[in-house]
Amino acid sequence: MKFDSKINKGPLDLRTVIGFFHTHLLYRDHAALTDVSFTVANGEFVCLTGPSGAGKSSILRLITMDLLPTEGQVIVRGMVSTNMNRRRIPLLRREIGYVFQDFRLLEDRDVYQNVQFAQVVVGISSKQMKNNVMRLLTQVGLWDKRHRLPHQLSGGEQQRVAIARAMVNSPKILLADEPTGNLDPVVAQEIIDLLFRINTGGTCVVFSTHDHEIVKNFGQRVIVIENGRITSDEEHKTAASTAHRLADRMYRPSAPQPAAVRVQEGSERA
């Protein structure tokens, strides 16, 4: 490593949750990221967009410290990539919710267990766990399919399980890698609304998508990455707040209520 371990010379903004400082990432001989620098403040909603293979997923993997940068520095919630205790990585990850591009569900556990699982790892009490799972599965519209195994779900349904799992721990940072790639426009909009809602609650959201068009209409901060370099990083603060309010209003509270669903389940079994 050519760089000093203290690359970030200036004082760190206390509101900064994620910081990339001249980050380079090499996969063996392939340069996936070149000199990427940006910071994300607490509570921000950031869209990450760019063509296939641009490096979006790589950025998200750097944030969870699943990968470490070849050069430069990544700081996430005070954890510095160049100078850290590997044993503390699990603790960082518990504060991050990650919607993987390929879902990564547990194939041999049902929907309920998949969502619950993320909480067991963290060690949440049994009762609270149940409430959380119920709330999130209801929000993504899968409460009545909670006993299905992943392979018994359609692609879009699997994606929604992945989203519920990422959100269940009320993470401080939510990383969503193409969370709507397999969803039809209606459901996709619902998921995006959900992301906005969780963002309103103070969670920092990084939303990665290949489709620049969708993102433009959000009116949020958009980071465009092409061929491993950031080519644009624009904020649309005014539009953003509008979109926010819009999303909040648009969000349908008519999703099936857990209680009602329970009755339904009973009748199904009868």
Partner: protein, 290 residues
């Protein structure tokens, strides 16, 4: 500090491999049980062979045959000289008459040698019993050589070859025991490790996802370690159970059979558990390298 839900989860997962791969786990436990049974058997045979050797050595007495013409006086003088030889425990005089009665007993009732003989052809002798620490082939040889130098002595006879054979077999058996133990150890560890590997191979994704979701290495490891230990425990209990059952059947027929003490049995089962632990640890290592 694991929470209650975590402990519940870990316990459930520890049994999950059993539940999902009943046959494989069952056969693993049986194979490991047989291996451990062999191990325990060898240990017991070694123990018994040792105690048998102890008993057998009690029979290593020397018979010192004297010349005929010594007379009672010189014959009696030999007794204190024999007793002071290091390694000699006690000495008994056997007269010519006693020797003839011995022969009669050997030949049986049909033959009346006592009346048949004119002059008794059998020499007088001393029966020399050795102290326990002198009951080795080497010590007996030393004492024989010393006594043979005395002019009064015609010949010294003892079951030398038999002791040597017994001693050689005992050491061969100890070595075989050791080798078998090592092989069995390795096999047991391997079989368990392979079964745990099967569980893990089918859960490679689970492990990967656990890491990404923030599970610590210990959290990931624990169920697999428990699975291995549980297999070890069951195998050990089965092996010990079979052995103890067989022993209690044989005890009435074969006297003086040595068996494990209760503490040794507990120790054996603990050993089996740790074999299971080692096996599953070996299986896990690969997955937690990063």
């Amino acid at each position: 500090m694991p929470s209650k839900t975590q402990i519940g989860y870990l316990l459930r997962e520890s049994f999950a491999g059993f539940a999902r791969r009943k046959l494989t786990t069952g056969v693993t436990i049986l194979i490991m049980g047989s291996a451990l049974l062999i191990l325990a058997l060898f240990t017991i045979v070694t123990l018994n062979l040792g105690s048998l050797l102890e008993t057998a050595r009690g029979g290593i007495d020397l018979r010192v045959f004297l010349h005929e013409e010594l007379g009672a006086q010189r014959e009696a003088e030999l007794q204190p000289r024999l007793v002071v030889i290091p390694g000699v425990q006690s000495v008994a005089y056997i007269s010519k008459d006693m020797a003839l009665r011995e022969l009669q007993a050997q030949l049986g009732d049909e033959v009346d040698i006592m009346t048949a003989v004119d002059t008794n052809p059998l020499p007088p002798s001393y029966q020399v019993t050795l102290s326990p620490d002198a009951r080795t082939a080497a010590a007996v040889e030393r004492i024989e050589q010393e006594i043979l130098l005395w002019p009064e002595v015609q010949e010294v006879v003892y079951a030398q070859r038999w002791v040597e054979v017994l001693e050689r077999w005992n050491s061969v058996f100890r070595l075989a025991s050791l080798i078998v133990s090592l092989v069995v150890f390795a096999a047991a560890v391997f079989v368990i490790s392979n079964t745990v590997k099967l569980t893990m191979a089918s859960q490679a994704r689970l492990i990967e996802i656990m890491k990404l979701v923030g599970a610590t290495n210990w959290f990931i490891r624990t169920p697999y370690l428990c699975e291995g230990m549980l297999q070890g425990l069951l195998a050990g209990v089965i092996a010990m159970g079979i052995l103890a059952g067989t022993y209690s059947l044989l005890r009435s027929q074969m006297d003086g059979l040595v068996f494990f003490t209760p503490w040794q049995m507990v120790g054996f089962v603990l050993l089996c558990i740790s074999l299971g632990l080692v096996g599953s640890w070996a299986a896990i290592r690969k997955y937690l390298r990063t």
